[in-house]
């Protein structure tokens, strides 16, 4: 008789009441979990949004990423060619070229927009390399302690006292010229601070009773490090990552400015080097120098603001102090 309209709720009065269908009455366990996750995310966002500098940093960051991703839509790569540049050299900013042209007649705006792609890519990848390396060494050193930990920490100290830039320059000189080399050079020189940070947190986590429980139930070293220590160290690593990206971008620009980057790609540091080589400093072509320099400073600032805000949210002790 109810074959015409078989909604699950109408099937049986009491039976449906004990196990409500998802969406009707009480939500199912999965919907509950989703709700909870949404609430947690909302709470996280509220805490983050309470920091105006963090919001500004995030907005700036999103703008830069958006521009970098959509660059092919409004920059014609043919316009970036040195031999077939669209304008004449050293034109000051005008309606046609908002940021003027360089010594070949290329639009500086196009160069800066295109350069953001390499700068951001290298910044992110180099950070990934250095943070992954630092987290691995930090967790291993903190977990094993004893001889292993001591040796690893002494190696870390050695890298820490070595001037990062000098080491990166040495590496970039020895290896082939490519974007990959720059990423590697920055990644290998920037990991020690992360390693120290992660090791300290690992020591704190390893002292907790659930680590003893994990050992008691037969967990091996990798099991304990991967399943119990790493998830608890992760928030710290995340905050460190955002702070690290800023310094990686600056390091990339520095290497490119010193002529150690890939000469065939356009990056902010590379534009600055071209400007210096072309004598932009002495001839007063400020529009060639200023935009890439400001872009580097702004992106680094945006990442740092985000990192600080994230750190404040993840570390309640910092939040109280504000």
């Amino acid at each position: 008789m109810s074959a015409v309209e078989p909604p699950p709720a109408a099937a049986g009065g009491t039976g449906a009441g004990s196990e409500p269908p998802p969406g009707a009455g009480g939500p199912g366990p999965r919907a509950l979990a989703r709700q909870r996750r949404r609430r947690a995310a909302a709470a996280f966002w509220r805490a983050y949004a309470a920091n105006p500098a963090g919001v500004a940093g995030l907005a700036g960051l999103l703008l830069f990423i958006l521009v970098a991703l959509s660059a092919p839509l409004f920059v014609d790569t043919a316009d970036l060619s040195v031999t077939r540049a669209p304008g004449s050299p050293y034109q000051p900013p005008s309606a046609e070229y908002p940021l003027g042209t360089d010594n070949f007649g290329r639009s500086v705006l196009d160069l800066v927009v295109w350069g953001s792609r390499v700068s951001l890519t290298v910044g992110f990848l180099a950070t990934l390399v250095s943070v992954a390396l630092g987290a691995l060494i930090g967790v291993v050193a903190g977990h094993f302690g004893g001889w292993t930990g001591t040796v690893l920490m002494r190696v870390t100290d050695w890298f820490l006292v070595l001037p990062t830039l000098v080491l990166a320059i040495a590496l970039a000189t020895v290896l082939d010229r490519s974007v990959f080399t720059v990423i590697l050079a920055i990644g290998i020189t920037a990991w020690p601070t992360t390693a120290r940070l992660v090791r300290a947190q690992t020591l704190a986590v390893e002292a907790r009773p659930y680590i003893e429980r994990a050992r008691a139930l037969g967990g091996g070293h990798w099991h304990i490090m991967g399943r119990h220590v790493l998830p608890n160290v992760m928030p710290l690593v995340l905050a460190q990552t955002t702070l690290m990206v800023a310094s990686s971008i600056i390091a990339e620009s520095t290497l490119a400015f010193l002529g150690l980057g890939d000469p065939t790609t356009i990056s902010w540091g590379g534009i600055l080097q071209d400007a210096r080589n072309a004598g932009a400093v002495s001839s007063g072509v400020w529009w060639y120098l200023l935009p890439p320099g400001l872009a580097i400073a702004l992106v680094a600032l945006a990442f740092t603001l985000c990192g600080r805000a994230l750190e404040g949210v993840l570390n309640p002790r910092l939040r109280e102090r504000r």
Partner: protein, 350 residues
């Protein structure tokens, strides 16, 4: 044969101040299916014994003696074998369930953790088994998706018990399983442990400072003081009529409900256990003993038969038994020498 047999276990910690003995020669035996309790105040070495059973002590600890688990010596086991024995051969219910659960993982995943580590189970099968285990300890299987902070203290301890049962161990070591719980929940948890251990035929070694809890749950009881067992015997006898003055003081520390006199004059034990770095000469309990005699400062007594199936480490027990003429070796020598010459484990049949 005993499932667990601890023979002359010694544990000392290497510190800046030198070697500190935490356990000074402990013998224990747990027969299959039996429940043994270890009692003693903080710092007497009872938790050190529990952790030593699975070699979980920090690297600064040095162990001696033998720990035979199903006939195999834990102290000489290779690392791989040790990992296999941990949890599958003997599991632990830790004190403070709040901190023994990792806050970032769901409890179902944490119960499944030992199953995945020890058995070739698929994640789905392990999750199913975790649900069954939760049902066994009186929690609905759907709570497997909960995080530790969503559970109450009693529920968390139930999760720890479910975890201890996960790999079907033959021995469960319960290290103060009810310390952080209120009295009602404590009773529930103890009943649950008792019931599960009985149903599965698991042996249990329970550690607590609460003699009444142990007397209620266990078959046999060992009282530890300053790293040694000072009294051992059937649980209710040790609780009601301890032969060692320390055991007697522990038993008397509980007020008798309905007896106003015991409430008005609580009989505590003044003083603290001795500093392991500076053990007193003679009996370690001597300085706090209400019935100490001059000879106690000279003689370091070892476990001595103190009645049927019982033993106590006290010179007074020794002379009482001698007066009764039970099991006395060739007389005439000084008590200290007799004590030293006497085999320690006599008079203790599991």
């Amino acid at each position: 044969m005993n499932y667990l047999e601890v023979q002359d276990l010694t544990v000392s910690y290497r510190t800046a101040a030198g070697e500190l003995p935490a356990v000074r020669g402990v013998d224990l035996a747990v027969a299959p299916g039996s429940k043994v309790g270890i009692a003693g105040e903080s710092g007497c070495g009872k938790s050190t014994v529990a952790l030593a059973l699975l070699r979980l002590l920090p690297a600064s600890a040095r162990m001696g003696g033998r720990i035979l688990l199903d006939g195999e010596d834990v102290l000489t086991m290779r690392w791989g074998r040790l990992r296999a024995v941990r949890w599958a051969g003997a599991s632990i219910v830790f004190q403070g369930a709040m901190h023994s659960l990792n806050a970032v993982h769901r409890i179902g995943d944490q119960i499944a953790e030992p199953i995945l580590l020890h058995e070739n189970a698929t994640p789905a099968a392990a999750a199913r088994r975790a649900g069954e285990l939760l049902e066994q300890v009186g929690l609905p299987a759907r709570r497997a998706a909960a995080y530790p902070h969503e559970l109450s203290g009693g529920q968390r301890q139930r999760v720890m018990i479910a975890m201890a049962l996960a790999c079907g161990p033959r021995l469960i070591v319960a290290d103060e399983p009810t310390t952080a719980l209120d009295v009602m929940i404590q009773a529930q948890i103890l009943r649950l442990i008792d019931q599960l251990v009985g149903e599965h035929g698991i042996s249990m070694l329970m550690i607590s400072h609460d003699l009444s809890v142990l007397a209620d749950t266990c078959d046999r009881l060992a009282v530890m003081y300053a790293g040694r067992v000072v009294e051992e015997g059937p649980a209710d006898q040790v609780f009601r009529s301890a032969r060692h003055p320390y055991g007697a003081a522990l038993g008397a520390a509980f007020p008798t409900i309905g007896d106003p006199a015991s409430r008005r004059s609580p009989r505590g034990l003044p003083g603290d256990p001795p500093d392991p770095a500076a053990m007193p000469a003679g009996c370690a309990f001597g300085p706090r003993c209400p019935v100490a005699e001059p000879r106690c400062a000279e003689t370091d007594p070892v476990l001595w038969p103190a009645g049927p199936d019982r033993a106590a480490a006290c010179v007074r027990v020794l002379s009482d038994e001698q007066a009764r003429g039970a099991g006395v070796p060739a007389g005439g020598a000084a008590p200290a020498e007799q004590v030293a010459a006497h085999p320690e484990k006599e008079g203790r049949t599991p």
